[in-house]
């Protein structure tokens, strides 16, 4: 393990994806190192989820080259809890550890759902379901963690808590993370690297070398923010 510690956990070269005559991914090159936290920004419909599905091994219709080292866990854009399994059983589903139930309980406690293990998924609120889905991904201790807008249904306060939790878990287990988000500030607060996907390619790739915990008023972050908004096609003055 030690020798591979900083090797790429995934490498993508010239990845393409067409739906009919529409090209959604048009030659994506991407490498994520073990333990690297990468945020992926892009407008709605730019192909972020499509890229994630390819990395998760769920899309057999892609062109180009794609390699993933080790295990992958995914938190989908919709929580996708299995409705006929109680929340704890969802988290423990397919978990290959000595005591899956205990691991599930611990993971649920970490996302603040300790009391909801016996609940049916359809009774959860949107944010609760999202946290349960996050717990189901985190509990697997993967080498590559794919998170598709996992915080979008959370209120601002819960979001801060969960940000902290993800950073903690990341610091402890050092998976490579690819986090899809619409929120530039969130990307800048969390990630080592921020990418922008536009016109089917990675059009922007910048490092964020600011020590954590970060504050959004940090001058370097402010500069990056302006650059990212430009890359996304928004003039900074337009945004509140």
């Amino acid at each position: 393990m030690a020798t591979r510690l900083s090797g790429p956990v995934t490498r993508v070269e010239g990845l393409t994806r067409r739906f009919g005559d529409r090209t959604v991914l048009d030659g994506v090159d991407l490498e994520i190192r073990r333990g690297e936290f990468v945020a992926l920004l892009g407008r709605s419909g730019s192909g972020k989820s499509t890229l994630l599905r390819a990395l998760a091994g769920l899309d057999s219709g892609t062109g180009g080259r794609l390699a993933v080292e080790g295990t992958v866990a995914v938190a989908f854009q919709e929580p996708r809890l299995v409705p006929w399994k109680r929340v704890a059983a969802n988290v423990a589903l397919g978990l290959d550890v000595p005591d899956p139930a205990a691991a599930a309980r611990a993971a649920l406690a970490e996302v603040g759902l300790a009391d909801h293990g016996r609940a049916w998924p359809l009774t959860l609120s949107g944010g609760e379901a999202q946290r349960a889905s996050l717990a189901r991904a985190l509990v697997r201790r993967p080498d590559l963690l794919l998170l598709d807008e996992p915080f979008s249904a959370l209120d601002a306060l819960t979001r801060i808590t969960i940000h902290r939790l993800v950073l903690e878990l990341w610091a402890r287990h050092r998976p490579g993370i690819l986090l899809v988000t619409h929120d530039v500030d969130e990307a800048l607060l969390l990630a080592d690297r921020v990418l922008v996907l536009a016109d089917g390619r990675i059009t922007h790739d910048s490092r964020v070398d600011v020590a954590r915990p970060r504050h959004r008023d940090h001058p370097e972050l402010l500069a990056l923010r302006a650059a990212l908004l430009t890359a996304l096609g928004v003039t900074p003055e337009e945004t509140p």
Binding site: T71, V72, R80, V82, P83, W84, L93, L95, W120, L122
Partner: protein, 273 residues
């Protein structure tokens, strides 16, 4: 009729449809009771002769008598056994074939076309064939029930398996469930609601098939009891037999419903109860 005018008079009751309250249940009991009283009166006064339709009190007395001398329990036992054996056979075949067809393309190509063709055959039109093949003992009756039961279960289970949300199958894939675990945790539970729909349909058919099969030739069971009574113009026994059939149907339906409630507890609709 009185209930529907009540509904219109109380719009609140129309909006809160799912939970009829006790007074309404009482109101709904009224008209059947009146009907029963009219029937009894017509019988007692001789307007309605026993030969056409026995009065309720006669039927009740006959019921007591037939239970006491063991005729009715024995007939029910025989018919129940036919229904159960036929149902179990048909269910095993229907669900088994649906699993094979639902879980593999090959199985679908091999099984689904013949099943779709066979289902077009009229069930009761098969009775002559079944008698030729199986004689006139228990076998043709059980076979008719099994045949009738197999199709609704096959069709619904197959549709249920194919209707399982692909997104959940993807979840199973990224959670690295093997094929067996995927089937067990995602596919089968996902198909269950539709299978239960099929189960209720097939139970209805099972009873109907049994009644028809027992009419044709039987030397025991409820159908025999009814046919035998007809020859002696005992309408009380005929009606009693019908009531028992109806009761058996209601009981099995209630059993399935309670099983449904337990098995589908995760569904929002069931959660509300």
């Amino acid at each position: 009729m009185s209930t529907s005018s009540l509904d219109l008079a109380r719009p609140r009751a129309r909006i809160r449809l799912p939970r009829p309250r006790l007074p309404r249940a009482g109101a709904r009991l009224l008209s059947p009771l009146v009907l029963l009283a009219v029937w009894q009166l017509a019988g007692s006064t001789g307007i309605l002769p026993d030969r056409l339709l026995a009065a309720p009190d006669t039927i009740a007395a006959t019921a007591v008598e037939l239970i006491r001398d063991g005729t009715l329990p024995e007939a029910i036992g025989v018919s129940l056994r036919r229904a159960l054996v036929g149902f179990a056979l048909g269910a095993a075949v229907g669900v088994g074939l649906a699993l094979v067809a639902g879980l593999s393309r090959f199985g679908e190509n091999a099984l689904d076309p013949p099943m779709q063709m066979l289902r077009a055959l009229p069930l009761f039109g098969l009775i002559p064939l079944f008698i030729l093949w199986f004689g006139i003992g228990e076998t043709p009756k059980v076979a008719i029930v099994a045949f009738g039961v197999a199709f609704p279960l096959y069709l619904n289970t197959f549709a249920g398996i194919r209707g399982v949300d692909g997104k959940l199958a993807e979840v199973g894939q990224v959670l690295r469930l093997g094929r067996a675990a995927l089937v067990r945790h995602i596919v089968l539970p996902g198909a269950l609601p539709q299978t239960l729909v099929g189960l209720r349909q097939s139970l209805g058919i099972a009873w109907l098939a049994l009644i028809v099969a027992e009419q044709i030739n039987a030397s025991s069971g409820l159908g025999f009891m009814i046919n035998d009574a007809r020859e002696f113009l005992r309408t009380d026994i005929v009606v009693l037999g019908l009531l028992v059939y109806a009761l058996l149907g209601l009981v099995t339906d209630a059993l399935v419903r309670s099983a449904e409630r337990r098995a589908l507890a995760w569904r929002r609709g069931f959660l509300a109860r």
